[in-house]
Each structure stands twice: as C-alpha cells, then as structure tokens.
C-alpha cells in the first residue's frame, strides 16, 4: 500500500531523476516498510516521506534549471553562439497535477460566484452611468400609449389611469436594492423606467448615437409634435396656444440651431416653454435608448411576483415600534398598494395608537400609491382634510376619510424624517402634512420627483411631459416638483431620528 502510493508520488519528480534513481527510491521505501512495522513507526515513515517530498521536489526542479544556465554559460565561454536546444519533454505528472488542481479551483470559484450574490449588470449601465439628478426629476412620467391609440380612447381613461397610482421614483433603478425593484408598481410604468427612458438633458455621449442624424428637419419635427401635444393636452388651451407659438417661433428664428445634441435640445425646449408659463411639470425629455411605442402590459406573473415581494417585505412597513417616552416609530419604505396592504397598514397604525407622539421615518421611502398616503394621513386628523396632489384632479377622494374610528392619533405631535432619497408619494405625504402644519419635518430636502405629468411619445428619442390633472394647490408655495420639500429642521438624514426624538421628548415634557 505505502509502496504503491509512493510510486505514484515519485512520478512528481523530473523524469531524469526517476530514470536514474526511481527504482532505488522505491526499494528504499520497501526496505523501510519491511523494517518499520507498527502504527507509530509507519506514521513516522510517512511523515518522513512527505517532509522529504516537500523539501526535495522543488530542489529537484531547481537544480535542473540551474544546470541549463550553467550549460549556457559554458557555451558562451567557449565562444560559440549562445543557442540552447531544449530536449523535447512531455508535460510531467507534476504539471498535470497542479494544472488539474488549478482548473478545479477555478471551476468551483466560478460556480460559487455565479450562485452567490453577483448581480448581473447590463453592459449599457457600465457604458453610460445614469445621471442621478436629471433622472430623478424627469423619468417617472407615466407612459401612455402613443397618439393614435389615445385618440380612440375616451379622455376619461387617461384620468383614471393617472388616478390609480403614483410611481415609485426611479431611484430604484440606480440602486442595487433588489427588493425596491420588485416593488415597482405593476403597471406599464416600470417598463418605461427600465428600458425606456434614461432621459438626460445634457448627454454629450449621445451626439455619437442618436445625435449623428440630428439636424434641422429632426428639430422641426420635434417642435411641431410638441406644439401639437400641448394644444391637445394642456389643461389651459389659451396658455397652450401661447407656449406652442413660442416654441415654433424660436425654431423659425434659428434659436435652436446651437443645440446639436438631443439632450441639449430637450433642455432648450423646456426652458422656452417655462419662459412662457412657469410650470415645473412641463418638460421635453430626451432618451438615448429608443422609447417603446407602447409600454408592455404587465403580466399576471408580474402581479403575482409583486404581491409576493410585498408580503415578504411586510408591505414595506419595515419597523413598527414604540420608543422610550411612548414615542411611536414607523419606518415605512414605500406607500404600497392599499388594495394589497390595507390590513398591514391598519395593524401598524393600531399598534401605535396609544403613542403620545409619532415619528414616520420616510428616509428610504421612494414613493408608491396616493391611496396609501390618504389612508395613513386619515389617522392624523379628526375631520376630513384636503390633501393636495398635483397628479390627480381634485375630487372627493382628495379629502382624508377622517376621523378614523378608534384613532387617538389625531391630536398627537407628528414628526417626519426625510432624506434626499425621499421621493414621490412620500413627498406628497410630507408636503401636505407640512403645509397643513400637522407635522414637523426633520432631515434633508426631499428628492423632488416631478412625476406629475403624463408622458407623450414624440418619436423614438423625444417625448413631452404635460401636466393634465386639474389639481388645486391651496398653498402659495410651489409643490415639490424638481425642488423637493424643505424640512422644518434641517439635519443630516443620519441624525434625523435622534433630533426628532429629542424634539418630541421636549414637547411631551412641556405638556
């Protein structure tokens, strides 16, 4: 047994050594095996053999190389040309052995990496990283079927689809937060956000791509289409006429000639429109990637996945607890679909019902459904309260269903924690509670998602966002579109909880 094993190990030595002394080495092992019987001597024998292998094997190869070198030196000293002829030798078993081990390790590590947490990053994401700021503000428009399709639909359908939900802000896309990605609402909008848009206002790279064919005819077409869309969809037809006329006039005057790439051109048109009408919900968008003609309808499977992800994440009600001094704390990472999450929301609010103050942590909340905003806000009032939402026409649903039977929160101090990543529906919640002086906002200015218009496709690369909801903003200040909601107490997002708890405690002591 030992001899056979050693015979195999012996094959690791260079062939020159094996030919000369292989048989003798084997004989020596045979002799020792015969003379050293018993467990301990045998163990010692093997320790000797392995130790010997470790020491002598490298030396055997090293010496071989040194001989070559000295041979070369010898040749040179003789004055002959320094040519070396290597004897052709097949790969030794040692080489096969180490090569095999290396290959095996590579295969194993690859399969490990593939199975564990290495997320697929599309090549395009590497080539053109999304520009966060421009992106937040622009890309969450609801896509709408292209013009011919919408013409055939009754105008009400657009309004209903608009009412259904707000869009989770596209921040999701730039993070690797898998959960947030799944939690994107299951309407067509995710498709737009993902493949479509990446609208960018100052994309230099695209002059290479789409901009190669960007010329006066293209600009004219975009301007004409934008004007047509404005006249058709803008809430105020008189203003629409003015804006459209301005766009066409600028184009005729050659004001647009300087814009040689799509992003700059879209920016320019947006500025021109806002010169006429300072409406932050009005903009022309450019997308480097071709815009889908018709957003793909969400599949049943997508709905099921969305529902399951929501269940697993407890409807994004991440933390519901009561802090010291009886301060209720709710960390809410989105405003989920009330038709799926009403129960979870009701339970969470019931758990905090006896708190003396309540802190809503919206620092990681990127938006969701206005229905959930209204549902939660209802607990905080003892009478129906108007919640302004620029995305919806003002209807009876714009008032909260307050008071909620059994709720004791209507007169309790409320604190909202915000961050630059607080978006969309969370901004809706923050803006209204701030304006109603119902909550103290602690943290950073929110993201400023301008997902308040309806998106109309102009061609493969251009689109126009037009605000179509007739919402009444009762406040003198503009809403959060593009600028965010400013906090009452400006602290870093990381310090917001501590600050809010201090404020709440002080307030409760005074009482």
């Amino acid at each position: 047994m030992s001899e056979k094993l050693y015979a195999w190990l012996l094959r690791l030595y260079p062939s020159r050594f094996r030919e000369a002394y292989g048989e003798e080495a084997l004989q020596l092992v045979r002799d020792r095996c015969r003379d050293e019987q018993g467990f301990l001597p045998r163990l010692r024998l093997w320790l000797d053999l392995l130790g010997d292998l470790a020491v002598s094997l490298p030396r055997a190869y090293f010496d071989f190389r040194r001989e070559l070198t000295s041979y070369a030196a010898h040749l040179r000293s003789e004055g002959g040309p320094p040519l070396l002829v290597l004897e052709e030798q097949s790969l030794g078993p040692g080489a096969w052995f180490f090569g095999g081990v290396l290959a095996l390790a590579t295969v194993i590590s690859f399969s490990f990496l593939l199975n564990h947490g290495v997320k697929h990053v599309p090549l395009s994401a590497l080539i053109r990283p999304a520009r966060a700021s421009a992106y937040h503000r622009s890309s969450s428009f609801r896509p709408r079927p292209p013009e011919p399709a919408s013409d055939s639909q009754p105008p009400a359908s657009a309004a209903t689809s608009a009412e259904q939900r707000e869009i989770v802000a596209p921040e999701n896309k730039t993070t690797n937060d898998a959960q947030a990605n799944v939690l994107r609402p299951p309407d067509g909008s995710h498709a737009f956000g993902q493949q479509g848009a990446q609208p960018r206002r100052a994309a230099n790279a695209l002059s290479v791509l789409a901009g190669a064919e960007f010329n006066r005819a293209e600009r004219q077409r975009v301007v004409d289409q934008a004007a047509a869309n404005l006249k058709k969809h803008y809430i105020d037809p008189v203003v629409a006429q003015k804006i459209a006329a301005a766009l066409v006039a600028h184009e005729k005057n050659g004001d647009d000639d300087a814009a040689t790439d799509g992003g700059a051109f879209a920016d320019l048109l947006t500025r021109q429109m806002r010169e006429v009408q300072p409406d932050t919900h009005l903009e022309v968008l450019f997308s480097e990637a071709p815009l889908p003609r018709r957003p793909p309808a969400p599949t049943a499977e997508f709905h099921a996945r969305y529902r399951k992800a929501l269940e697993q994440a407890n409807c994004t009600f991440e933390t519901v607890k009561v802090l010291p001094h009886n301060i209720g704390y709710l960390k809410l990472n989105s405003f989920p679909d009330p038709s799926l999450c009403r129960q979870t929301a009701t339970r969470a609010m019931a758990a905090l019902n006896n708190a003396d103050a309540i802190v809503f942590d919206l620092r990681d909340n990127r938006g969701g459904y206005p229905g959930m905003v209204m549902l939660i806000a209802a607990y905080l009032f003892d009478h129906p309260e108007y919640m302004y939402n620029p995305r919806q026409d003002t209807t009876a649903d714009s008032w909260t269903h307050s008071p909620v039977p059994g709720s004791r929160l209507a007169d309790k101090p409320v604190y909202l924690l915000t961050s630059a990543r607080t978006f969309s529906a969370a901004e809706h919640f923050s803006y209204d509670l701030k304006m109603l002086k119902r909550a103290t906002l602690v943290g950073e200015t929110t993201g400023g998602a301008s997902d308040v218009g309806v998106f109309h496709r102009i061609d493969d690369h251009f689109g126009i966002g037009i605000r179509e909801a007739r919402a009444i903003n009762p406040y003198a200040e503009p809403d959060w579109a593009g600028i965010g909601v400013k906090p009452d107490v400006n602290v870093k997002a990381g310090d917001a909880l501590g600050t809010a708890v201090n404020l709440a405690e002080t307030k409760l002591v005074k009482k």
């Binding site: 050693y6 012996l10 030595y13 050594f17 000369a20 002394y21 003798e24 080495a25 084997l26 004989q27 020596l28 092992v29 002799d31 020792r32 000797d48 053999l49 130790g51 010997d52 292998l53 020491v55 002598s56 094997l57 030396r59 055997a60 010496d63 040194r66």
Partner: protein, 116 residues
C-alpha cells in the same frame, strides 16, 4: 574540482560522505548509517537521499560500484556507492572547517568539552 554548489557542503551530503568513509553502502544502508550517526535525528528520505547521491556522483565525490546483493536484505541486486579520493579529501576539508569553528566556539565559551 568539486562543484560550486557543494561549498559549503550541504549537511546531507556531508553525512553521506561520512557514512561511506567506512565501507561501501547501498542507498538504504547510507540512510541507516546517517540515522545512527545522528542518533536518529536525520532520516534521509528517498528524494533527498538520491538527489544528494546524484549531485555527489556528478561531482565525482562518490562513485557507483558493481551492483550486488545484500545478504541481510534478500536477493535483490542493489547499487553500491564508494567514496572517491576527492570525496574523502573534501570530507576532511569540511571536518577541518567544522573543527576550526568548534575552536572558535570554545574560545568564546559557547561550548565546553574535552575534545578538539
């Protein structure tokens, strides 16, 4: 002329030369002699032993003799090795070098003892 890599003489090579100083031996015999010489501390494994032998043969410090049987170990024919005069001279040189070293060690009071 001994090869350069044998100056100073590697310990294993020196032990092999010492083992062969008394009589001609085969590989296993060398290994057992070396083990005895060193109170069992140095047990030359086959790889070290035969690569040392190879080097020593190449350097003409030892040479192979006619293969023959070792009566105590059965009927296999074994290759025997013999010390050459160069080998003997080199072993003596190495021993003298060590003796000088010992002398220094004694004057520095690192080593006590009667010998050398």
């Amino acid at each position: 002329m001994p090869k350069r890599k044998l100056v100073p003489l590697p310990l294993a090579a020196f032990q092999i030369l010492l083992a062969l100083a008394g009589e001609d031996l085969h590989g296993y015999g060398i290994m057992r002699h070396v083990a005895e010489q060193t109170d069992g501390r140095m047990r030359l494994g086959p790889g070290t032993l035969y690569s040392s032998i190879q080097t020593l043969v190449d350097a003409k410090l030892i040479e192979e003799t006619e293969p023959r049987e070792d009566a105590r170990l059965g009927h296999e024919r074994r290759r025997y090795y013999r010390l050459t005069s160069t080998g003997r001279k080199l072993a003596r040189l190495e021993a003298e070098r060590l003796r000088d070293l010992l002398r220094v060690a004694r004057t520095r009071k690192i080593l006590r003892g009667e010998y050398v």
